[in-house]
Symmetry: C2
Subunit: 299 residues, 2 copies
Amino acid sequence: MSLLAVGTLAFDTIETPFDRRTEILGGSVTHFAHAARFFGPVHVVGVVGTDFPDETLRGFTARGIDVRGVEITPGKTFRWSGRYEADWNTRHTLDTQLNVFERFDPKLPESYRSARFLFLANAEPAVQLRALSQMRSPELVVADTMNLWIDSKLSDLEELMRKVDGLVLNEEEARMLTGRRNLFQAARLLLERGPRFLVLKKGEHGAFLIGREVRFALPAYPVEEVVDPTGAGDSFAGGFMGVLASSKVIDPTALRRAMLYGTVTASFCVEGFGVEGLENVERARIEARFEELRSLVTP
Amino acid sequence: MSLLAVGTLAFDTIETPFDRRTEILGGSVTHFAHAARFFGPVHVVGVVGTDFPDETLRGFTARGIDVRGVEITPGKTFRWSGRYEADWNTRHTLDTQLNVFERFDPKLPESYRSARFLFLANAEPAVQLRALSQMRSPELVVADTMNLWIDSKLSDLEELMRKVDGLVLNEEEARMLTGRRNLFQAARLLLERGPRFLVLKKGEHGAFLIGREVRFALPAYPVEEVVDPTGAGDSFAGGFMGVLASSKVIDPTALRRAMLYGTVTASFCVEGFGVEGLENVERARIEARFEELRSLVTP
């Protein structure tokens, strides 16, 4: 048992400047797992309603994603609907129906509790903390969050920050949490509040890794045609954590390498709707993009 | 005679969210030369009015900037005034008085015409072409441009593009010139129109170098406190060209190295008003930032 992720499985309705899709497979752990699976087994904890097709769960299993931790409860699966503006940077949430996720109380199967790597996808911080409290002694815990919790659940989020090794957040969230516009100043303040490292996501401008012993700046992989950016952050986290879970040691070199792989898995994600971009990729194409990205950024 | 730059010397009045300065030394070749001088001699062609202090020109000379090509003509020096919004990304031009620059007809001193490296700072493309036509056989010519000329002087600009080795432009200009939002698609189209390489500036998000034989993506140096972004692009070009002019060969390795140095000189520029950030820097601090940046981006 190596890599565990806790978060949402959902049906997304997505409008882009060029196309529209209705109720396609989405959710944070869905994207995470579809990216992490290239590097080893990944185990998932989440909740779906009775409307979630068995066939879809079998699709997860066929791709090496263990869904024994996905609870099926009476009711409807989480639904989200959003629209992207022409510049891709602005996203409007049109509708959120939490449905069965509203009462999500993560219950980790006994065999999951000794996982070495844990990813807590974006959820109410109290829920993330409940999941974390069931773990024995994970080697590396990384959490994602969002502006909603910074506004409404800050003290829970502060507690979570004290208990995780890494925090994934975007520029805006880092600024909200610290009141600093400069990302490196913001990062320094955040590192004093608990995490050993931060992954600061800058969308099409790439990501920074800032830790106590490591600083690494990486542009996005130059995708020629963005189809749907939904799940890019979770796909990044999936590649990042998947590679770390397969690494012998977690040192600055391994973290930098994980940033490159996370960037690559995110690049495949945005080339299709939902997880389509990640579904039919072979490991060889992951490696080819990894080498291409490495060559693009190496001075 | 190695590195020559043609462009403006000006007095800038600048409002930032935190401060304001009136009629400070500015202009494209001023910034360029103050960055390039760290790497070797730099020669300047431009025009100033009789109001331009002799003392300021002597200050250039004292820093290794040759101003014999700066013409002093009756009238007032170019004046520009602008205001930055709180996010630094939005700049409003409040006033432009071309003054003596309106009739600028670059006349290269005989000894300048055999320069090996030429930078044509932003000016009307016809003026840039007239400067270029006076050169013997420069080894490397790089030009800057702006949205105004894309709108109003496109055919001159197209001619210029056919005659230069490198073009420096920002994201918006690349998109205007090609109609493509994706920067790598835009770059491919631009490379078909003449230049061997492009430097695509993305402000606080860094810069891309895209050429026929080289692709390199680099974030900005993480400046903790931006004071005034004016001249960042020209300071980048100064470091970039200054390093190239001191390189034995111009190959992809030299171009990547020049990108790092350009990023470093731009970082010092934005830490002060006008060229103040570049005035009192020693070469050792340039080297220290170069190493820091290289370590920040090396996978």
